[in-house]
């Protein structure tokens, strides 16, 4: 993948290893113009924002991008990406539901629903109705969610106090090791023997431990492997507090990192349900699906302007 660059204050260009590539996708086999109900889910997360279009209950298009410095703009930009790709405008949309950290700050949404409910609903769509345990590894928090066969939340636990076990923690390590975040997973398996985990609690300590290990002659790959293992151990301890039922599904950015996913599976002895859909859109997808159900019940909402 290409590494995006940014201009720092000193004017030099430095690579940003921690960034996931932003991407925009639309199902070319469908045409939104023939859909009866079109709904939008907007997930404004702490790190990334997504916009998902659901047409007649089916995923039609999405856009995933970095959250900027204010929620309304991030939400609008996420929608504009899809607008550009598909030609769909807010006037064609029957309802918009916002979710995520910035859900109350989406000026063009009709309703806000918590990200926990939305992730469960999204996972139910992505992984099928046998999904019972969802691990959502977001940018700044980590949630373990139980749901029923309809994707309705029955219980959940979350960690939002500590960066260990969150995407932010992985970004710190990716930046420290100067390895693009998308390559971390593959490189963590390119080791002769699996190392023990570094500090599984504090990222700050894990960072200094990682530096120490590099100095002790460890390869970058081995250090990354030790960190992936630490992160897996950390989230498993959260999962174990709520209990893991079969039908295990992982959402959020970390789900795209096999270095963590495979290690979680190994510790739990359970395979995660796989999906072809980008795991980062689960929240926005769930929001759009909720909107779909609401439109069917109450009828379409009046469109709201993109800018407040």
């Amino acid at each position: 993948m290409s590494i995006e660059t940014t201009n720092s204050s000193a004017g030099e260009v430095k690579p940003e290893f921690w960034r996931w590539q932003e991407n925009c996708w639309a199902d070319e086999s469908k045409d939104w113009r023939s859909a009866k109900v079109i709904t939008v889910g907007i997930d404004v997360g702490s790190v990334s924002s997504q916009c998902v279009i659901v047409a007649d209950g089916e995923l039609y298009a999405y856009n995933s991008m970095r959250t900027g410095n204010n929620s309304p703009d991030s939400a609008a930009n996420a929608f504009k990406g899809v607008e550009l790709k598909t030609g769909l405008t807010l006037d064609d949309v029957h309802m918009v539901v916002g979710t995520g950290y910035g859900r109350v700050n989406v000026p063009f949404s009709h309703k806000a629903i918590t990200e926990i409910a939305c992730h469960a609903r999204g996972a139910n769509y992505m992984g099928g109705n046998s999904v019972r345990t969802i691990l959502d590894m977001g940018g700044q928090d980590c949630k373990a969610i139980h749901c029923d066969d309809k994707g309705k939340v029955t219980n959940f636990l979350m960690n939002d106090k500590c960066a260990a076990g969150t995407g932010r923690g992985m970004e710190v390590i990716s930046d420290l090791m100067q390895i693009p975040i998308a390559e971390i997973g593959a490189r963590s398996f390119d080791v002769e023997e699996e190392p023990d985990a570094v500090s599984s609690i504090c990222v700050v300590f894990a960072k200094s431990e990682a530096l120490g290990l590099l100095k002790a002659g460890w390869s970058k790959n081995k250090v990354v492997a030790a960190y992936c293992q630490a992160m897996a151990e950390r989230v498993v301890s959260l999962l174990e507090r709520i209990g893991v039922e079969e039908g295990f599904f992982i959402t959020g950015g970390i789900a795209k990192n096999p270095g963590v996913v495979k290690r979680i599976e190994k510790i739990l002895g359970i395979q995660a349900v796989s999906t072809k859909i980008d795991s980062q859109i689960a929240g926005a997808l769930g929001a759009a699906l909720f909107a779909q159900t609401l439109v069917q019940k109450q009828g379409p909402c009046k469109p709201v302007a993109l800018a407040a």
Partner: protein, 269 residues
């Protein structure tokens, strides 16, 4: 008799030499002011750093290893000190060292680079209880260090800046990693650096204070470790703990190493 205490912290090595001098027949321990402070620059392994620190202090004191009767080690890397005759916990060393300066010390707050802890002492230099923070950098020196870097202030400027603020901005983040982004957004919202510095130090102080409360706060309170040099932190901690005064030893970062050397000397006598 000469004894040495070596404190292998997560960031630096501290060594103190103690020589006992008999004044009017009363055995009174007096330490020779010879101390060395070592940053881990990275090219040194812990055992090599310990050796180097010890050799440096001996050289400056004009001594050789055979003249030192005992060496006690403490700190996170105490097991790495090959030449140590024994090792003691950070709690024992901290309590002993603090009692040297303030025999009335009942609560010792030790804030190091990566660990913070509260120690309850019996007034005789013995630790009777403690509560520590070993898993999380919040409530330790590196939290303040990271934030001062985000503010582009030296640690000294950082502490002084916080004293100029009388605002209390609560920090939402507990985690150092998240707090760094919070500080950045405070900077972007044009919050004065002074107020941010105070917010950060208040946050560290409240974390440390929560830990110390677990052992109970009893005066006199003595603060040891590098954070003593940060007047802003001392002031925030005083407010958080609700005490009149926090006693500050002259050589705060050497207190544990000194405690070690004193314990070594007592064991010999």
């Amino acid at each position: 008799m000469i004894t040495a205490g070596i404190d292998m912290g997560s960031r630096s090595v501290k060594v103190v030499l103690v020589e006992d001098a008999h004044v009017d027949g009363a055995p009174k321990l007096k330490y020779i002011v010879r101390k060395t402070h070592f940053m881990f620059p990275g090219d040194l392994d812990a055992d090599v750093a310990a050796d180097k620190a010890f050799d440096t202090i001996l050289e400056s004191a004009g001594l050789n290893r055979s003249q030192v009767d005992a060496v006690y080690a403490t700190g996170a890397g105490r097991k790495m000190v090959n030449f140590a005759t024994d090792s003691v916990t950070e709690m024992s060393a901290g309590a002993k060292g603090a009692a040297y300066f303030y025999p009335s010390a009942r609560t010792i707050v030790d804030v190091g680079a990566e660990e913070g802890r509260g120690i309850k002492a019996d007034g005789d230099g013995k630790a009777i209880d403690f509560a520590g923070n070993e898993k999380c950098a919040a409530g330790a020196g590196s939290f303040a260090e990271t934030m001062s870097r985000a503010l582009q202030l030296s640690l000294k400027e950082f502490g002084e800046a916080s004293l100029r603020s009388d605002k209390s901005i609560p920090m939402n983040a507990q985690c150092t990693v998240f707090a760094e982004s919070e500080v950045v957004s405070l900077i972007h919202s044009a919050t004065p650096k002074e107020d941010i510095a105070k917010a950060v130090l208040d946050a560290v102080a409240s974390r440390v204070c929560a830990m110390v409360r677990r052992v109970g706060i009893e005066e006199d309170v003595v603060l040891i470790g590098g954070m003593v040099h940060n007047p802003g932190f001392v002031s925030s901690l005083k407010n958080a703990m609700g005490v009149e005064q926090i006693k500050l030893p002259d050589i705060p970062e050497y207190v544990s190493a000194l405690g070690c050397a004193l314990l070594a000397a007592e064991a010999k006598n």
